[in-house]
Each structure stands twice: as C-alpha cells, then as structure tokens.
C-alpha cells in the first residue's frame, strides 16, 4: 500500500477534473491510501454548492462528495483561493456560505501536511 496526496487545480467545467476523480477512485480501488485531496487554483470551484450541472452531465461536486463518503478521503479546500473565485464560509456581511458539504475549509498549510505525509504526490 502506498500513500498518496492529490492536488486538484482544474475547475468542474474542465474534463481534466474527471480524470483526477477517476485517478483518485482507482487509487482507492487498488488498495492505496490518500492522505487528502487538496483543491487549489481553479480547482476550488469544485466545492461551490451553487454550481448547477445539467442532468445529463457528470456532476463533479456530487461525485467528489460521494468519493469522500465511500473512501473517507478528506477533501481540503484552500479557502484563500476559494474566496477569490466566489466561495465563502463566512456568515458576515450577508454572505451566505456556499462551500459544499464534505469539503473541509483549509489553508495552504494543509497542502504541506498532506504532501509531507504521503509517499507520492500527484497534481492534477
């Protein structure tokens, strides 16, 4: 068993994000462990629960949530990157939090923790 850390940098409008998900799912199905998936850059948009995906397309937010529930893999959201792209965890100033369930609000420090604890780091 090898321990991985994953970094997802692409938004749900990019098919490359499906590749990241499938890679993560295959890691788990092959018996490997993932310290966490860190969502950074445009990847943070995956955690926006206001994203509406047409019903005939893969809903990546739901798919990541399902992956978290089934595998127990933590999904870490870089909140600094997220705030610039329209996500918020704040209840101030009439902002309504829109970070989807199953995503953990984190800082960039979590990137260091996840990657330093892993045997392999894969950025997708």
């Amino acid at each position: 068993m090898t321990t991985f850390a994953l970094i997802v940098s692409t938004p749900p409008t990019d098919n490359k994000t499906s590749t990241a998900l499938k890679f993560a799912q295959t890691l788990v199905s092959q018996g490997h462990n993932i310290t966490g998936v860190f969502f950074y850059q445009d990847g943070v948009i995956n955690a926006n629960h206001l994203v509406q995906t047409p019903s005939d397309e893969l809903n990546l937010m739901s798919a990541w949530q399902g992956f978290n529930k089934e595998s127990g893999t933590p999904l870490h959201l870089c909140i600094t990157a997220a705030e610039r792209r329209g996500l918020t965890d704040s209840l101030d100033n009439d902002l309504n939090p829109n970070v989807a369930e199953n995503f953990t609000i984190s800082g960039l420090g979590e990137l260091v923790v996840l990657t330093s604890q892993a045997d392999k780091v894969v950025q997708l």
Partner: protein, 95 residues
C-alpha cells in the same frame, strides 16, 4: 549507488497548441517515462515524440474518446497508471 527510480511525467495538453511537452522534454531524465492523458493524447502524432527514446504510454479512454489511434505507443488503463505512479520516484504534471 542505487539508481533513482524513474520520474514519470503526466502530459495533459496538446503540443500542437502549447509548449508544455517541449518544456517537459527539455528537462527529461534518461530513464524518465511519459504518460499522455487528456488532450496530451493528441501528442501521439506530434514530431516531438518521434525520436524520443524514453518510454511513452497513452491512456486508453482518452484516446478512444478523441478517436485517436496510437499504433506506436503502449496503451494503458487507469490501473496501469496507478501502478506506474506507485513505482515512480515522483510524478511531474504538465498542464
């Protein structure tokens, strides 16, 4: 001294449109391996790979979805990709 395990490079964009594959090749170690994913699969027809001596692998789903054929390269699936990352020293992604 034990040789380092190979670095594997994930190529995710088309070299017909950008310079990522070129940048990868510029710093490629002699034992490094290339994995073509996503739009990177279009590179099976790019001249940059014609004379490259490093191993090159292509992800089947990404070829099929794009209707590209890759007679000269080894076609792999996600399980193969996972196994390669397990064996690799490290993974560098070009996207």
């Amino acid at each position: 001294m034990k040789p380092l395990p190979p670095t594997i490079h994930l190529i995710r964009t088309s070299a017909f449109a950008d310079n990522k594959l070129q940048l990868c090749i510029d710093t490629l170690g002699v034992n490094d391996e290339l994995f073509l994913l996503d739009d990177g699969t279009y590179n099976v027809n790019h001249a940059l790979l014609t004379n490259l001596s490093n191993p090159v692998y292509v992800l089947d789903e990404h070829l099929t979805s794009r209707a590209v054929s890759a007679a000269e390269f080894e076609v792999i699936n996600y399980v193969d990709l996972v196994q390669a990352t397990v064996k690799a020293g490290k993974v560098i992604t070009w996207q």
